[in-house]
């Protein structure tokens, strides 16, 4: 029997909802750009919802952010300059800063207030990462930054919200944008993005992102994990100009982790690296049947 109290309803689709008991509201309100809810729940710990959709939860944000960051940063022979698009909670930043070879991280997030809220209420995510002198944080549109910047980066990480209708994320998942990302990457540059759910019902976004990246990058390696707090399998796509993450052996990955002084990981390990990239047939089909996303017809998340 459910305990009495306040419950948060998160719609997955029009027909399918998830109901969660809220132990404590840490923050709820609207920033200039989105609706923000920070809750504490018993099974997932602290949770962050943006526009009503789960972004991350204390219990497994480590899994998500480690899997977003480490395959890309380990694939690159010597990542020094990293660009993060989005990632306002600061956990992606935290994972990037584990690498002592990383000299400079540029982080572009549109929502200044969200960063303040995260630092205040979810400090477990950033663990002080925003205080690092290696970090430069800019609050502006990722698209215009990427189009105008003269910098070159070794790794670009896209940690953006899903392209819900009318949100600023929509133009950040198109062939034109990915082409510009390709141009600002160095010779062995690597691009990685979180690409939405990879469940058997709504895999179109994941498939289309991978399909679109194949138009731009010579090497495209989609991968996935299961996210407990999302109650869904989740997709990522790594796209690279020259290096192939699948050509890295366990020994080499272990050596790179040690050399770059990356310690204290809770999920990612060299032994797991290859399994991340093993996709089931339905996801292969999802990529084959994916659409090439273009500025004139971008992806609009409708699940």
């Amino acid at each position: 029997m459910a305990r009495p109290g306040f419950y948060f309803i998160e719609p997955f689709t029009e027909d399918f909802l998830r109901i969660l008991r809220v132990e404590k509201v840490l923050f709820q309100g609207r920033t200039k750009h989105q609706l923000v809810h920070c809750f504490e729940s018993r099974i997932f710990g602290k949770m962050l919802f943006l526009d009503g959709k789960i972004q991350s939860a204390e219990v497994d944000e480590g899994i998500f952010h480690e899997c977003l960051v480490h395959p890309a940063l380990l694939s690159h022979p010597r990542p020094q300059k990293v660009l993060i698009l989005g990632g306002g909670e600061g956990a992606t930043l935290r994972e990037v800063l584990r690498y002592d070879c990383v000299k400079r991280v540029m982080m572009i997030d549109l929502d200044r207030q969200l960063v303040q809220i995260s630092r205040r209420y979810l400090p477990e995510w950033s663990k002080g990462a925003f205080l690092s002198p290696r970090v430069k944080l800019l609050f502006r549109e990722a698209r215009s930054y990427v189009e105008k910047t003269k910098h070159k980066f070794d790794v670009v990480i896209s940690d953006l919200t899903e392209p819900l209708r009318g949100t600023p994320s929509v133009p950040l998942f198109t062939r034109e944008f990915f082409t510009r990302v390709f141009e600002i990457l160095g010779d062995s540059g690597v691009f990685v993005l979180q690409a939405g759910s990879a469940d058997p019902h709504y895999f179109h976004f994941f498939g289309s992102c991978a399909r679109t990246l194949k138009e731009v990058f010579p090497i495209v390696r989609p991968y996935w994990i299961f996210m407990f707090s999302f109650s869904l399998p989740w997709g990522f796509v790594l796209a690279s100009r020259a290096v192939d993450p699948l050509k890295l052996g366990e020994l080499e990955l272990g050596r790179r982790l040690a050399e770059r002084k990356v310690r204290g990981l809770g999920y990612y390990r060299p032994k797991l690296h290859r399994t991340l990239f093993s996709l089931p047939p339905y996801l292969d089909r999802a990529i084959r049947s994916g659409r090439v996303l273009e500025d004139k017809e971008p992806f609009i998340w409708e699940a």
């Binding site: 800063l97 303040q116 630092r119 209420y121 400090p123 663990k127 205080l131």
Partner: protein, 279 residues
């Protein structure tokens, strides 16, 4: 996270103004860290005389060399007088000094409620005692507003330490009547509150106000004093609050833990002696 310091770094002067015409200064060998959290400006500097110094919004909070005066005197009078403390709450205390002293006792649980999670990350890096303290299984760290925590939680404690910053600025609420009223509800039978109470010289009027309302709340309301060389005026005051535990019994039954540098039983008695201007 450390800021690379050029070899040509000249000793920088850090001044803390205590009154418009006086204060304290340090010549820093180097600046170890400087940054801004959502709550405050944080600096860690390295000095010849006091080792590493933590400044919040430009005010000295802790130094490696003299932290023991403050932390031992906040913690041990209450811990020694309480017959068997098991559950301890620390409000504030992000630098971990108070926690370190509390963990010297065989307690069951220490809950630390600190508002600024990023200060903890900085201190973990620069003050050697914090990391091992946070690894201790008895410790439960909560990043939350101490005032909110006591409004929402219904847990009870044997001893509550209020390790706040000064009664001016963001910690103002932790020095007010409503806060202490609620705090009392979180005390178990025979519980004790020990709170830092500011400088008897510079925060004199706040001390007097506090004594007035606290006397209506607790049977034992005693100020006690200790020197803290790097705090304004050097002389620092603390509050001992309880309904059942008398901090000045005929015989203090428990011995303090070994290895302390300032606190002992003679100091305990002497600390509760007040000069006429504070009586």
């Amino acid at each position: 996270m450390s800021r690379p310091v050029p070899s040509s770094f000249k000793p920088a002067e850090f001044r803390e103004w205590h009154t418009p015409s006086s204060g304290l200064f340090f010549l820093a060998k180097r600046s170890l860290f400087s940054g801004r959290t959502p709550f405050q400006k944080v600096d860690v500097i390295e000095t010849e005389s006091f080792g590493r110094v933590l400044l919040l919004d430009g005010l000295v909070q802790t130094t490696e060399k003299d932290e023991f005066f403050y932390h031992e005197m906040l913690v041990h009078p209450a811990m020694v007088c309480h017959p068997a403390p098991e559950e301890v709450l620390i409000i504030g205390g992000g630098d971990g000094g108070t926690l370190k002293e509390v963990l010297r006792y065989p307690i069951k649980r220490a809950v630390m409620v600190e508002i600024d999670g990023e200060v903890i990350q900085v201190c973990k890096r620069y003050f050697p005692w914090l990391k091992p303290a946070l690894r201790d299984k008895r410790v439960e760290l909560r990043i939350a507003d101490g005032n909110h925590f006591i409004q929402e939680s219904n847990r009870k404690f044997d001893i509550v330490f209020v390790d706040s910053s000064d009664p001016v600025g963001p910690s103002t609420v932790l020095h007010q009547r409503s806060f202490f009223l609620r705090l009392k509800e979180h005390l178990k039978r025979g519980g004790v509150v020990a709170a830092q109470a500011g400088s008897p010289l510079y925060h004199f009027s706040s001390l007097r106000k506090k004594r007035l309302f606290l006397r209506k709340m607790f049977r034992f309301v005693l100020f006690y004093l200790a020197p803290v060389p790097t705090y304004p005026g050097c002389m620092w005051s603390f509050l001992f609050l309880s309904d059942r535990v008398n901090p000045l019994p005929k015989k203090i039954k428990k011995n303090p833990p070994v290895g302390l540098r300032y606190y002992n039983q003679e100091i305990h008695r002497a600390a509760f002696a007040l000069p006429p201007f504070l009586k």
